[in-house]
Structures are given as structure tokens and as C-alpha cells.
């Protein structure tokens, strides 16, 4: 379960003064649900997710993740969260097995248990042939699988994905999408940020549109379609963000064309 209450983050920049990256964002994600955070670059997606993963401290407001407050018990939150982002890389000089074992140990799992879990994950993710090779020689797909195993070794109740498919080819992206669905099937609470419209359409149970640090619209795909009287996610997004319809849609909607 994730419950964000009035999450706010303000950065201070010498040149630009105060930057309100996230302002009063509240939402709720239930177990077995995928919440899609949709927004353009710089909308505040990463900052929001980093606050949920306790990498950043909220300036105001708070969130309860897997039963723990992010401000009061950040370490307990992290013990119950799996965080996967395009920016979370692997240690190149470690093997996949060493990488997974390291994170298992950091999560306080006994070595025997780490061994059985690694074997199971390697089997599920089909990592057998590269489990004992160094990560710096991996293809993108192999890296993704290792990262997934790394986030799952402590079997977290909450999964946070920050644009995990950025820069991936179709096959690697599909692995991720399948994995996110698997998480939902196992009853995990999932939050997923992206700027790709088709991904939210395919994947997310609830969609939150974030812009300029504020949550502009929220609901299931159907609810949003009704609210904005649009079918396409892209149109819904543009309307939610700008408060008006996109020019292409106006033309196709039959507005007088000379």
C-alpha cells in the first residue's frame, strides 16, 4: 500500500531560486494495483518516486509506504520497497550473482536464503548462463534481468519503477512490462512512472497525470476518457496539462476546415 499525503518538494538553486518540483501531491495505491504516473520530462515524476523510496526527504507532507512513514522510518520503508529506474545501474566489476547477494545481505537476508532465492530468480528470469559473469560485459537485456533480480531479492511488498524502459530496445522493454504485470499478479503494490502514453494504456490500473509538480488528473483509463471526452491517451494528457485540446484533434473532430 502507498498513501501519499500532500507530498511537496522544494529545491533551492543559486541561479533559479526556489524550484517547486512537487507540490501537494496526494494519491493512494492499493496492493495488486499498478498506478501510472504520467508526465513530461521535468514534471516531477522522479522527485515524487524518490520521496516514496526515501532517497529524498519531502519538504512538506509525507507518505506511508508498506505501513511505514517515509519521514519517520525511512530504513523500514526501504526494506519493503523495490526501486528500479533507468538510472539505477549495476556494479560492473561484480558478477550478477555477487550483485544479487550483496543486496540480499544489505537487506539482512541470511546467506542460505539468498542462495535459494537467487536460484529461483535466475530460473524465472532465465539468467543461468550469465549469472556468474561480470555485469560490465552484459547486454542491456541481461542488465535489466539482473536489476530485476536485485529489486526482488528481499521480496518487497511495494515496487517503484521510474521510467524503467527508457533507452531500452523493444525486447528488453517487453521483459520489463511483463515483469511489472507479474508483480501485480503477485499482489504487490506497484507505482510506475513514464512519459510513454501507450505504456500507461496497456499497463496501469489507475493513471495520475502530473505536470509542473502538480497532479492534474487522476482515474482509471475509462474515467479519464469520460472526464475529458477523449479516447486517445495523448489527447487526454494534453488537455489535462494545458486545459485545452490539441490542434490535431480539433481538425479530426470536424471543426470547420476551409
Amino acid at each position: 500500500m502507498i498513501e501519499a499525503h500532500q507530498l511537496t518538494k522544494t529545491f533551492r538553486d543559486k541561479k533559479r531560486g526556489e524550484i517547486h518540483a512537487v507540490q501537494n501531491v496526494s494519491f493512494r495505491v492499493a496492493p495488486g494495483q499498478i498506478y501510472g504516473l504520467l508526465g513530461a520530462n521535468g514534471a516531477g515524476k522522479t522527485t515524487t518516486l524518490r520521496m516514496l523510496a526515501t532517497l529524498l526527504r519531502p519538504t512538506n507532507g509525507t507518505a506511508v509506504v508498506a505501513g511505514h512513514d517515509v519521514c519517520a522510518a525511512p530504513e523500514k520503508v526501504r526494506a519493503n520497497v523495490g526501486f528500479l529506474a533507468a538510472s539505477t545501474a549495476l556494479y560492473g566489476r561484480l558478477t550478477a550473482r555477487e550483485m544479487i547477494t550483496y543486496f540480499g545481505r544489505l537487506n539482512g537476508i541470511p546467506d542460505v536464503e539468498i542462495k535459494t532465492r537467487t536460484a529461483r530468480l535466475a530460473d524465472e528470469l532465465d539468467m543461468g548462463d550469465f549469472l556468474d559473469r561480470r555485469c560490465d560485459k552484459f547486454s542491456t537485456g541481461m542488465k535489466q534481468k539482473t536489476s530485476i533480480a536485485r529489486t526482488l531479492i528481499h521480496d518487497p511488498a511495494v515496487m517503484i519503477f521510474d521510467e524503467p524502459t527508457v533507452g531500452l530496445d523493444i525486447m528488453a522493454a517487453r521483459t520489463i512490462v511483463r515483469f511489472v504485470r507479474d508483480c501485480r499478479a503477485r499482489g504487490k503494490t506497484v507505482i510506475y512512472s513514464t512519459h510513454i502514453m501507450s505504456e500507461v494504456e496497456k499497463l496501469c490500473d489507475v493513471i495520475g497525470i502530473i505536470h509542473d509538480g502538480q497532479l492534474r488528473a487522476e482515474g482509471t483509463l475509462e474515467q479519464l476518457r469520460q472526464q475529458f471526452s477523449q479516447r486517445e491517451m495523448e489527447e487526454i494528457f494534453v488537455q489535462a496539462v494545458t486545459g485545452q485540446s490539441a490542434p490535431m484533434t480539433s481538425a479530426s473532430a470536424g471543426v470547420a476546415v476551409p
Partner: protein
Amino acid sequence: MSASNIATVYRKELRDMLRDRRTVLSMIIVPTLVMPALMMGLGFVSYKIVRQARATAPTVMIIGGADSPRARNALAAHEKIKVVPTADDWKIRIAEKKVRAAVEIPAGFDAAVERAEPSTVKIYNHEGEMRSGFAVSEVRRFFTDYREKVITARLEQRGLPASFVKPFEIRTENVAPPERVGGNIVGGIIPYLFILLAFTGAMYPAMDLTAGEKERGTMETILCSPVARMDLVFGKFLMVLTASLATVLFSLLSMGLTFLIGGSLLARMGGGAAAAGAAAQAAAAAPSLPSLDPLGMVAVVGMVLPMAVLFSAALFTISLFAKSYKEAQSYVSPLIIVIIMPAVIGMLPGVELNLRLALVPILNVSLVSKELVSGVWHWDYLGLIFGSTCVYAGIALALAVRMFNREDVIFRA
């Protein structure tokens, strides 16, 4: 703070570092090679230069003295200098080191000596230049002897003994043990090298474990783990410290080995050289390793310990601020000057330890080490310096923890 978490982080960092060729190079190979190379090199090169300089007689030009053949010929016959034909541009030649010195014999010198009238012989030299110095001392010795002979002859004429003008002799003798003499000459360099190695050893891992991790994107990964930030700082810091101390330790070990093996090796090389040039009277000055007090050396390493903590924590903090490895390098490289400066001041002759200097980081260790390797133990200063360095190290470490907890530093974009 959890000791087992710190150990987990440390073990992982150690494994990671040992798989990196660059660390192994800076942590093990460089310090192992630098010490013997420096000590053998220093011993051998200085021996060779001095021997060569002594073996070849310095060139001297005689100015004037055409009417004083007695003095002139005696000087020309002196075998420890080589008299070259006079040229008008002798000043330039001395400055250009083509001629080492010039002697000006005043007009009517022989006659003046004969008549017991005062006169002055002038020697022109290139101040501070070693071979010019040799030439001057040879010419000076020659004229001192010449003067003595004149005096003895005059005394004999009057029936007086030589002791009439020389009632007693003056002689100088070194009583300091050889390691104290050695300590003063190379004593400044060897401990200073430990300081430099403690710094360079920490440099690479400090940058790699902070800015390097940010650059490669693993910093965010590790921050997602439930481990407290404090544990991460200590695990990483201990790794940097390990690298720093390993560098010092490897150099100490290789230095010990150099003393065990290198000494006899050098002596054999020197012995062979001396036998080959039998005429050269350099045999007495066979090349030798600088003699240092071994217990003092160990104490120097002990003094370097808190300094390694200071360096590791400071480098860790500074590189943590950088976004990339390159940026970290541009912050850290100028720091080498900061390390070199106090150490160089410590090596200057005449700079001695006092209460105020004992509180200046790096300089204090450099100065007290100079004393330690020559076998002098100032217990009060040792305590003060060790204590103050520990305090500085503690401050640097606290700063590192503080920086690691600042999200604007960790996520600096």
C-alpha cells in the same frame, strides 16, 4: 549504525576495488617499486656524481702572474686541478661552467713574497655550483700550503720552530651516529614519501567510490537499500583508508627489503666500479643506502596513520561533491600541491619543530618524522602531533558523514 552492515559494504568495496587494475597499480605496484627505486637510485646517483666530479680534476684558469713564474708553475703542476690557457672571457666561461674557477695572481707576486710585502690572490668562482666549489677548495688548499711553506722558510731563516706561528692544531670530527647524519640528509625525503603515498593511495578509491558511483549510476542503486547512510559512509570510508594504508605498508615492506638486499647489491656495484678505476681514490666512498633508524621508520608510519584517516576522509568528502570522476579529479589534483607545500617546507634546512608548527597539519608530521628517522624522539611533540592529527581526522570524517546525508550533494545535478 550496524557493524555487520558496515562489514558487508566494506567487503563488497574491497572485492570491487581489487578487481580494478587501476587501484591495484596505485595501491600495490607503485609503492612497491617507488621505494627501492628511490633509495637505490638516490644512493647510486649521488655516489656516481660525486665520484665523477672528484675523479676529473676541475679546470682552472690563471689570470696574470706572468712575472711570477714560481707561483704560476707550482700551481700548474698541482695535480688536483687542470690549468687551462687564459682567455679574456673567463668570467663568461665560469658562468657557463666551461671553466670551474679562475685565479688572479697580482703583478709582482713572487717578488712581493720575496720581500715579505702583503699581496692578495683572488679566486673567482660560480657560487653554489659543486665542481666550482671543488676547484675553489683545491686552489685555496694549494695557496694555503704555499703560504705555509713561505712561513716555514722565513721562520727557519730566523731560527724559529714551526710551532712559533702555529701554537696548536684545530681538527673537526663527526661524533653523531651515521643514521643521524643520514637522517638529516634523506630524512626529509623518506617520511615525506609516506605522506605522499598515503595521499595518492587514498585518491583513486575516494573518487571511484563517490563521484565514480554517481557517474555510473550505482549510487542511486545502493541508496535504495535499507542500509543506513552512516553504514554506507563508514564501509566506503574504511575501504579508502585501507587503500591508503596498504600503499604505505607496501612501500614500508619494499623499503625493508631494499635494505636487506639492496645494500649488498649496491656495495658490489660500487666495489666493481672502484676496482675498475683503480686510480680513482673514490673507493673509500662506496655507494651506500641512506642509513635510517628502523624503529624511527616504524614510528613514522605510526604518525602517518591518523594522517591517512585525515586524507581518506577529506578526499572522500571532496570527491563526494563531484558529479563525475573527471570533476572529482579536477578538485583533487590541486590538493597535491597542498600536500607537497608543507612537506617541502619541512625539508628546508633550519625549519625546526616548535609548539605552533606542531599544530600545522602535514607539516608537523613531516618535521617530526625528520627527527624520528635520525633516532630523536620528542615524546611531547609526538603526542601533540598525533593528537592534533587525530582531531583533524575526526573533523574530516564528521564532515564526510554530513555531506553523505545531504541530498543536494548526493543528487547534485
